[in-house]
């Protein structure tokens, strides 16, 4: 099994490398034949995403944007794309991986004869890498680039990470840190007893559940994605869902941001629409916090946070997403929040009792199957 993996990785690397060389050769041909060099990059914008109703996921459309060299607006990006392409080829050749930040530093230098840097900040570099992913139709791990670890996991499951067996019941207070690459060649599921996954928005809430041994009592896996879950976290959730058939239950804030996180987990994001088939979990469920909870749980006025103008605008946008548009439950939910005029964080349940969320709220709702999907 391990041998096969190595083989397929080598094959995959050769494929990626070939794609990079072909890209560079195309530019070189244009240059030498006197044509204007230009890159063609699939657009990662909302207008170029298509809602696949049947699959319940967001997919990337066919639109591409030209990135000509001889245009002031795109000249620098053109150069940056080529620099990253060269860096990645080196990484693959050396059979090494690098963080996003590492790639940024590798390509960052002063342009010869000037005082200008090729890249000034990592914020400039990361989108260029995403451009390359879509332009080469290669995933980030295929480019040997990874993001920082983000998010944690505990629960009744045992996995193998790069050959090390990890028992997620014995992860102490911190949990298993979710790596950015969780493909089957890196992580395999060895043994799973859990019946579902409880995914919470952030570490503080996750700590509450972990401390109260929620996963033990309810036989589940407990994860968080530190806000908007990174690709590693989403990919792992999807694998757990598809390979082990575990349902995903989300506990997120009652605000447009929480709704959006749910939307991303469920149908994928706009900028990573090309990876939706690997990331989206159409059957993910939204358990709370719900707009009705303020009354239902008898919360104190102090937990209310006024909706800002921006929140209201955002909420309306989300309500208009095609996958929410025809969904009565969600329309009601968003409208209820707007009618409330305030938002609530998961932590607001602490005002009832420190363990109210883990011992009363979530168990009751799970039992009642009171969720949105």
């Amino acid at each position: 099994m391990a041998k096969k993996t190595t083989h397929s990785v080598a094959e995959r690397d050769a494929r990626t490398q070939k794609k990079i060389v072909e890209l560079a050769q195309a530019i070189s041909r244009m240059t030498l034949s006197g044509r204007e060099p230009q890159l063609s990059i699939p657009t990662r914008t909302k207008s170029n995403t298509v809602w696949n109703r049947k699959k319940g996921i967001l997919e990337m459309g066919d639109a591409t944007a030209d990135r000509p060299l001889f245009d002031l607006k795109t000249a620098k990006q053109f150069m940056q794309t080529m620099l990253h392409a060269s860096t990645i080829k080196d990484l693959i050749e050396a059979r090494k991986t690098s963080s996003l930040r590492g790639v940024f530093y590798k390509a960052k230098h002063t342009v010869a004869g000037t005082k200008e840097n090729t890249f000034d900040t990592q914020d400039e570099s990361d989108p260029i890498l995403e451009d390359l992913e879509v332009a080469l139709a290669a995933l980030r791990e295929e480019l040997h680039v990874f993001a920082e670890n983000r998010g944690s996991m505990v629960g009744n499951i045992t996995i193998v990470d790069k050959g090390d067996e990890i028992d997620c019941r014995r992860m102490g207070s911190g949990g298993y840190a979710l790596p950015s690459i969780v493909e089957p060649d890196v992580i395999q599921f060895k043994k799973c007893e859990a019946k579902f996954i409880l995914h919470v928005e952030k570490g503080t809430v996750w700590n509450r559940f972990n401390e109260d041994r929620f996963w033990e009592k309810h036989n589940c896996i407990l994860t968080h994605g530190a806000g908007q879950p990174p690709r590693g976290c989403r990919r792992l959730l999807q694998r757990l869902n598809q390979e082990l058939g575990l349902p995903i239950i989300c506990v997120l804030d009652n605000d447009p941001w929480g709704h959006y996180i749910y939307s991303v987990i469920k149908q994928g994001s706009i900028s990573l629409a090309f990876e939706s088939t690997r990331l989206a979990i159409p059957e993910a469920k939204f358990l709370g916090i719900r707009a009705k909870d303020f009354r239902q749980c008898g919360l104190d006025d102090a937990v209310k946070i006024d909706l800002t103008d921006n929140d209201i605008k955002r909420a309306r946008e989300i309500a208009a997403y095609p996958w929410f548009e025809g969904h009565k439950g969600w329309q009601k939910e968003i409208q209820a929040m707007l009618t409330n005029g305030f938002k609530m964080e998961v932590e607001s349940l602490i005002t009832k009792d420190i363990s109210y969320v883990s011992e009363v709220y979530v168990p009751e709702r799970l039992k009642a199957k009171d969720w949105l999907d």
Binding site: A24, E36, L69, A75, M82, S86, D90, V111, G113
Partner: protein, 699 residues
């Protein structure tokens, strides 16, 4: 006296009507102006000196032009109290203005110099500098009041014979001259003047000052007066500078007094050229303290015709007076009166007019009753008439405007436009505008507006002047200039406006500002917009070139990195890729190159230039680089680009050499190798050559 005031007088036991009557008498016009001398421009010593110069020079230019002589004018100011304390507010000066005009016949001398409101120009509708016949005699009167000294006049109306030497003082009570000296001298121009300073002596030796050959006829006027000589705005220097601009056909020499009253360093008002061998012929120069404003064009302004008033331009009272005058002199019919005393009245129109006034064509002008005249007047307003003829106007002309500005203002871009004649209150007028931009002009100050009426510079009351308002109302932002709301545009800009008319409507007798008639302001704005558009086009093109230059910079910066990256991926020769990319970058930004070839060339005048009224001095551009209105330049101009500009930009100016009329026609023609008539290249200035043609060195 009516009953009411009589009763009032009795009640207060005051003067009776009879007593008052003994004190009521004529006021002489000269008495009036002696008391109200500020009305004529003699409000303070500095302005008084300027006004005196202005009146004398205006008269000289008018006289020369009317006689068809290319004007040659010398202005000499002697300081008669050179030892006065430094704190003295004013001093006594002797101002002498000598011209090579036709001279004045002996019997007219007293009238011209010794009476206010006496002259040839008031009663006619003809374009001239003077209008009222107040100027020079008022200057003499002012001198007499402040110093008690008479005016000294030398005039030589006949080339072969002796000159008259007359000294006269005005009697302000009678508005008549009292002659104190009257003899004939051989000495003209007065030899004393030639030897006033070492500078004049040197010039005389070269034949460049008061040479008897040039001054075969002419007039010299000397006035002693209390004044103050100080350079700067509103000074004699500025006046002469501007006069030279508007009168490129005149040659003016100026001998200033030895002492400047103010420690004003800002000697030159406009950034004018420094003296150098190459520019001597065209630009203002100074030798041994004598300032020479050379002649820029060799032709006199076209001769103008005198016109009769236009029916639409007169008032009812004037019409009545004209009828009376006609009866007194001609005793003719209304029909002939209308045709003879007005312009644009054909016999058919005259017949119509007679009918409208309930008169026949044989009705005598003297028999027209007031109600009839009123009907006639009303008819004037309603009838359709062609506008007055315009051959009474002598605009400066686009070419001459450019020549004038070129010699007076050191800039990079010049544009001029001359509108066709229009009419206000039945009087024809014509507006001309010109602008100079860039070069040595200060970049971040409000534009300088220079105003002229019938070629006479207007130095005061700028904000009251129609032309100033026209400048403010023009949207300079449309032409890529900055313009704070309701203010002058800001930038290295000189704006010149000229109004030519048979009767310029001044706001006061001192002729400092043009009255704000809508028709006039509208024309001014149109003329300014025309110039503005030309400037806007030029600035756009210049900015575009700069942008292209910057673009190439950007591309050149990146293609090194790109070719290395591609080379690293594909294993190709990076140098070969670089060369191919570089060739493409060059092609893509070819506009930036077009002017690089022009480096070191002097003036390029485009073929359309004559119609276009545009003149570009690329060599002045190096200086304008810092101009605030323009986009910042990324690449610093290389030393190489500086070299041609380093030999003073002015040296590179075209030389409409005084001896060559052709040069005047096309200023650039004097420097043939520099001329590159290239219509397509219109208004494309060079940009500084970049440090390296090959971009950053990479290999």
């Amino acid at each position: 006296m009516d009953a009411v005031s009589e009763t009032a007088a009795k009640r207060r036991k005051g003067a009776t009507a009879e007593e008052m009557a003994t004190r009521q008498r004529d006021i002489s016009v000269s008495e009036f102006f002696a008391k109200n001398r500020h009305l004529l421009g003699f409000d303070n010593p500095r302005k008084a000196l300027l006004t005196a110069v202005k009146e004398a020079v205006d008269n000289s230019l008018d006289a020369c032009e009317e006689a068809g002589i290319l004007p040659e004018i010398a202005v000499i100011i002697e300081d008669l109290q050179p030892d006065r304390p430094a704190t003295a507010k004013s001093s006594r000066y002797r101002l002498t203005v000598v011209d090579n005009g036709p001279g004045i016949v002996r019997k007219q001398v007293e009238n011209i110099f010794g009476r206010l409101l006496y002259g040839s120009k008031f009663h006619r509708l003809k374009m001239s500098r003077g209008q009222q016949g107040i100027g020079i005699s008022a200057a003499g009167m002012y001198g007499l009041i402040t110093t008690g000294r008479p005016m000294v006049i030398h005039t030589k109306p006949k080339a072969g014979s002796a000159a008259h030497h007359i000294e006269l003082a005005m009697n302000t009570k009678t508005n008549r001259a009292e002659v104190t000296t009257d003899d004939e001298v051989k000495d003209f121009p007065p030899a004393r003047l030639s030897a006033i300073t070492p500078g004049t002596r040197a010039l005389v030796a070269e034949g460049g000052f008061l040479s008897p050959e040039t001054f075969r006829t002419g007039t010299s006027v000397s006035i002693e007066l209390e004044g103050r000589y100080q350079r700067g705005r509103g000074s004699v220097d500025e006046f002469l500078e501007l006069t030279a601009i508007a009168n490129p056909h005149a040659r003016i020499t100026f001998v200033p007094p030895s002492r400047d009253a103010g420690a004003d360093d800002d000697a030159s008002v406009l950034a004018h050229a420094e003296a150098s061998a190459a520019t001597k012929a065209t630009a203002t120069t100074e030798t041994g303290g004598v300032v020479i404003y050379p002649r820029g064009v060799q032709e006199l302004p076209p001769e103008t015709r005198e016109i009769q008033p236009h029916p639409k331009g007169i008032e009812l009272g004037i019409l009545l007076q004209m009828l009376k005058d006609y009866e007194a002199t001609e005793k003719g019919s209304l029909f002939t009166f209308l045709q003879e005393r007005f312009c644009r009245v054909s016999s058919a129109t005259a017949a119509q007019m007679c009918k409208a006034a309930d008169a026949t064509s044989r009705t005598r002008a003297g028999d027209v009753e007031a109600p009839q005249a009123e009907k006639l007047f009303q008819f004037f307003q309603d009838v359709k008439l062609p506008p007055p003829p315009t051959d009474c106007l002598a605009p400066i002309g686009v070419r001459q405007l450019l020549a004038g500005l070129l010699k007076g203002v050191s800039a990079e871009f010049y544009a001029a436009s001359s509108r066709s004649a229009e009419v206000y209150r039945g009087r024809p007028f014509q507006i001309e505008a010109a602008i100079a931009f860039g070069g040595d002009l200060p970049a971040d100050e409000p534009a300088r507006v220079i105003r002229f009426a019938n070629r006479v510079p207007l130095l005061f009351q700028q904000s009251a002047c129609s032309s100033f308002k026209a400048v403010l109302e023009t949207g300079w932002k449309n032409y890529n200039l900055q313009q704070p709301r309701g203010s002058l545009p800001v930038g290295p800009l000189v704006i010149m406006l000229h109004m030519a008319s048979v009767w310029v409507p001044f706001t006061s007798e001192s002729k400092e500002a043009i009255a704000d008639y809508d028709e006039i302001r509208k024309e001014m704005k149109l003329a300014l917009m025309e110039c503005g558009r030309k400037l806007g086009t030029y600035l756009n093109k210049r900015a575009k070139m700069r942008r292209e230059g910057e673009r190439r910079d950007v591309f050149e910066r990146y293609i090194g990195e790109i070719s290395k990256a591609i080379g690293a991926i594909t294993g190709e020769d990076a140098k070969r890729l670089y060369d191919a990319l570089h060739a493409q970058a060059k092609r893509k930004t070819a506009v930036a190159d077009q002017q690089l070839d022009e480096d070191g060339k002097v003036v390029r005048e485009q073929e359309e230039s004559d119609d276009d009224g545009v003149l570009i001095v690329p060599s002045a551009m190096g200086v304008a680089e810092d101009a605030a209105v323009l986009e910042p330049v990324v690449a610093a101009p290389a030393p190489k680009a500086r070299t041609p500009a380093a030999s003073p930009p002015k040296a590179a100016r075209p030389a409409p050499a005084a001896a060559k009329p052709a040069a005047a026609k096309k200023p650039a023609a004097a420097a043939p190798p520099a001329v590159r008539p290239k219509p397509a290249a219109a208004a494309k200035p060079p940009i500084p050559r970049r440090p390296s043609q090959d971009g950053p060195t990479l290999f």
